[in-house]
């Protein structure tokens, strides 16, 4: 019996540690993944906004995708040059593979030129979404118009 009790204690402590680690990763803004070739977003049916687009990969069985979608949708409505496109992973498996997406929701922060500048996975809070947005200089985009090098 002692062995089983020890096993349960170890299991509970391990689960707690896993829970802390998992929670801390939710929606954290991370550096973009190295993508060897530029993605042709238009050919995948994804129209990019002028300054920044949140490209969200979702699934039907993903509860966190709904709240993330609400947060990003709300943010998009308050800024004209920010877009939000939600894709079902089932419809874009090739894109999922080439971009290295492993879980849902995964949100790529894509600039006006189609370059990924950051990514988040797991449920995204409003604060985290704004933090990701701050990675793209608004002033440059507004001053230059489409004159981005």
């Amino acid at each position: 019996m002692l062995g089983q009790v020890i096993a349960l204690v170890v299991l509970v402590l391990g689960t707690a540690a896993l829970g802390v680690w998992w929670s801390a990763r939710q929606g954290a803004v991370r550096a973009p993944r190295e993508t060897p070739v530029g993605v042709d977003w238009a050919s995948s049916g994804i129209a990019l906004a002028d300054r920044v687009t949140f490209v969200q990969f979702s699934a039907e069985v993903c509860a966190a995708c709904r709240s993330t979608s609400r947060v990003l949708g709300g943010l998009t409505r308050s800024a004209a040059d920010v877009g939000h496109r939600e894709l079902l992973v089932d419809d874009h498996l090739d894109l999922v593979r080439s971009l290295g997406v492993l879980r849902t929701p995964t949100v790529l922060v894509v600039d006006g030129g189609g370059q990924e500048v950051a990514r988040m996975s797991g449920v995204v809070s409003d604060t985290q979404a704004r933090q990701a947005l701050s990675r793209i200089p608004a002033a440059v985009a507004e001053a230059d118009g489409e004159g981005q090098s």
Binding site: Q4, A7, A59, V61, A64, V89, V101
Partner: protein, 146 residues
């Protein structure tokens, strides 16, 4: 069954905490026949949850009857598909343990219970969503179809 737009998101989490306690009991029982029977019972609960959705399992009924009346109405309703997917994953993991157990591999019983415990406890406490973590991996590996 009422056709609703969604379910109270707290229901599956309360259900997962009940299940986690039962799975912890299986771990305590160890590689024993008693543990095998308890795991079989948990597996059958997952069968119910997979067929009828988490809200249709006995844990979901307990929530509806005894817990929900004491809570304020939920801020928003949740899609029933994600918790149902999680019930299916729980069914798979516990079924492997039960099958191996009935074929005489009793150590598989507490091991399967431990794996299911991690998922159930994380779902209950921090809201881990198995559909979010596993569906795409399964899809990429070709294990499920849309």
């Amino acid at each position: 069954m009422s056709v609703s737009k969604g379910i109270d998101p707290r229901g599956p989490r309360v259900g997962a905490s009940i299940t986690a306690v039962l799975l912890a009991a299986v771990v305590l029982l160890g590689a024993s026949t008693a543990g095998l029977w308890l795991l079989t019972f948990i597996m059958l609960s997952f069968v119910l949850g997979t067929l009828r959705g988490a809200e249709g399992s006995w844990q979901g009924m307990l929530f509806k009857k005894f817990v929900r009346p004491r809570l304020s109405p939920p801020g928003e309703l949740e899609d029933r598909r994600p918790p149902r997917f999680a019930q299916g994953v729980g069914l798979f993991v516990t079924a492997v343990g039960v099958l191996l157990g009935f074929f005489g591999v009793l150590p598989a019983v507490p091991i399967a219970a431990a794996v299911a415990f991690v998922a159930a406890a994380l779902n209950a406490v921090v809201g881990l969503c198995l559909g979010c973590e596993m569906y795409l991996l399964m899809r990429r590996a070709g294990l499920v179809r849309a």
